[in-house]
Chain length 199, copies 2
């Protein structure tokens, strides 16, 4: 294996993300991941000492990517808070289009054993704090509807990710998770959030 190719470890992480995301962490066996990568299970266990460790690594990857992408959106060009929020929404939806498994994994995050959930919170926490701070600021300026900034941030977050990770409700009304479907949805959501957040 020459050093020019994608290293095995990375390929394992990629395959694991896709499989965990689409079918759930517990339903996917190491064997399956190994098969997907074209390697033996023991090779997976060589790079990650246990399945738990692999799960942690995948979650960290996702969390880190999300944090980066949302963070970039939060301090986007525009000064208008609603434009900023829309940028965040776009940022959350973008990975959904490019990589549907990402959304599944966000859903998986809510059903982790407490130990793993804790490690994850540690990553996301600073981001949440920053958002709350920002919301609070804009509320003081009167540019966002006055309310408990923490709860509003959580509500907005839960709304966006709830929509993103709960395709069931949306599919029931004929919506399809295609790129164009997502754009339509995002536009509707934009109006929804705009109305909910402005004074």
């Amino acid at each position: 294996m020459t050093t020019r190719e994608i290293p095995t470890r990375q390929r394992i992480l990629d395959a694991a993300l896709d499989l965990f995301g689409t079918r759930g962490v517990d339903s996917v066996s190491l064997d399956e991941i190994a098969r997907e990568v074209g390697v033996r299970k023991q090779t997976v266990l060589y790079w990650f000492a246990s399945k738990d460790e692999l799960v942690d690594a995948v979650l960290e990857t996702v969390a880190a990517e999300l944090v980066v992408v949302i963070d970039a959106a939060v301090r986007s060009a525009s000064d208008d808070p609603l434009e900023r929020i829309d940028a965040v929404v776009r940022a959350v939806f973008r990975p959904a289009v490019r990589r549907p498994a990402m959304l599944g994994l966000m859903r998986e995050m809510n059903r982790l054993p407490e130990a793993q959930a804790d490690r994850l919170r540690h990553h996301v926490r600073p981001l949440v704090d920053r958002c709350i701070e920002y919301f609070s600021l804009e509320m003081d300026k009167g540019r966002l509807r006055r309310a408990d900034p923490g709860l509003v941030a959580a509500l907005a977050y839960a709304t966006v990710t709830g929509i993103a990770t709960e395709p069931e409700a949306l599919r029931s009304v004929g919506w399809q998770p295609s790129a164009v479907g997502l754009r339509h949805l995002r536009e509707e959501l934009r109006g929804f959030l705009r109305a909910a957040l402005t004074p």
Copy 2:
């Protein structure tokens, strides 16, 4: 086993709901359910031919209960659409307080294999249709913000259930799923939806 006690079948359903909801369908074994009920695994398999069938039965129970409770809320006393929506929100949150596993199971609904998801949709579909019809009507009357009624219904639904089933985001801001925490949350959500849905 006299007929006065709770029949085994029901006790199995109850235990399965709790376990599936809190720990996820795949992570719970038949043995575990049986142990919870105080019976052997083979007794579980006597009442439900396979694990799949048990899962189906549990989901049907939950779906049926949700449909009834939401349906009742939809045609609640008040004529004000926002009061009605609030009644629905209350209806969704009530089981959350009384039986946290219910929420977990609602989350599980989004990660079912396609066959089971289909059977479930069949239950929920009429309810969704009714909601869409209602939204459409109120929009015509100008009492709700004009928009694609299907998408708005889905958004509202996803918002509520997203919030209800995604405690992660809320716990990050110090919110706790206690009865009083839920009340506080519901009040904030009420304002949120009111703003988002009114013209």
